[in-house]
Assembly symmetry: C2
Homo-oligomer: 212 residues x 2
């Protein structure tokens, strides 16, 4: 209800990746149409909710008796999520996790180019999986030249805030933070916390319910 553009709730957005994963799986099996009830059942949601979500992003309504056309729906969701707008990203911190992410090739499917990593330690400079690892000092220059908009922060917790400041100083406006630390950033910079341990702990909670 902000001004007149979005009107799509945050909760709906957060379910889109799940739809996308599911639909791609079905498409891979050769299925062409899927009903809201089937999606709801497999994803553990309500059919009405699924219909409402899909109505918001689908360019064509579902067909009665068939359901939604999977191929079309995948395109619509990808478009909605912005996977067609290419974005350049870098990794800051070329330790184990940083190198693993640098070598990961799945980002290309989501409109993201991870072009390089940076590390303060000269020993880490070089290349991983065909992608370069630069010394930290070169971040501002390379970031600006390549229009980097996102940084993936994989340094140890003690180095996180300092690295964060350098990222902000380099003009990068979004940070995906793997360090388990709260980052102080100026207004306008987005931070997403990806604390693996917290995620895992959440899952444990779910799994154990609240029983011993």
């Amino acid at each position: 209800m902000k001004n007149g553009e979005t009107a799509v709730s945050k909760a709906t957005v957060s379910r889109m990746p799940a739809y996308l994963r599911y639909l791609k799986g079905e498409a891979g099996k050769g299925v062409e149409y899927v009903s809201s009830a089937a999606i709801a059942k497999d994803l553990g949601l309500s059919a009405v909710g699924v219909r409402k979500d899909l109505a918001l992003v689908s360019s064509r309504p579902g067909k009665p008796r068939f359901g939604f056309e999977i191929k079309l729906l995948i395109e619509d969701i990808e478009k909605f999520l912005g996977y067609h707008r290419w974005t350049n990203a870098v990794i800051v911190g070329a330790g184990g996790l940083g190198r693993a992410i640098l070598a990961y090739e799945g980002f290309e499917n989501y409109g993201i180019h991870v072009i390089a990593a940076f590390d303060a330690s000269p020993a880490k400079v070089g290349a991983v999986g065909g992608k370069p690892v630069y010394p930290m000092e070169q971040l501002p220059e390379i970031a600006r030249r390549n229009h980097i908009r996102v940084a993936i922060l994989t340094v140890p917790r003690s180095a996180a805030q300092e690295a964060c400041d350098e990222i902000v100083a380099a003009g990068i406006g979004a940070i995906m933070n793997f360090a388990p630390v709260h980052l102080h950033v100026p207004e306008g910079v987005a931070v997403k916390y990806e604390d693996l341990a917290v995620s895992l702990a959440e899952l444990c909670g779910e799994c154990a319910g609240n029983q011993i």
Copy 2:
């Protein structure tokens, strides 16, 4: 409102890790008390919401004029999130990401022991960062003997469902899935999707707003 135990909303639970990160940061700076208004400002929430959240988990009410005692609050939140119940976990898939997570030491702070990794390829068997990598066949036996409750799945997408089935067959009831695939699991098994690419794409969306 389920029966009479929880009464804590999902939204509240999801904010707890953010509080925890923030409070630990302040504690590290030597601060002893913090007001709901300060937390709200730094975390981009409303002060009333913060008070409501904290009232649900805090063992002692906040002091007027001072705020909440940080040390106590950290304990309460950790207790609430179950970081005191130790849980054993394993990694399935000892590729780059799996090895990076295996070497990561941050889990111990959250009540999680990652005791080993498993891989279908004999070439990967051995040890990483002092922790063993076993062949996949040994998963059922080791899982049962060590009361493993959580598996971290880091295999390539094409192997994900099969590995998932083996995990379930080994009696593990919770899976943290890094493969960008929808997993089919029997009722009662919890799956948490940690799709790095999706997370990153979400962040890009936030960063770009909805402008080009």
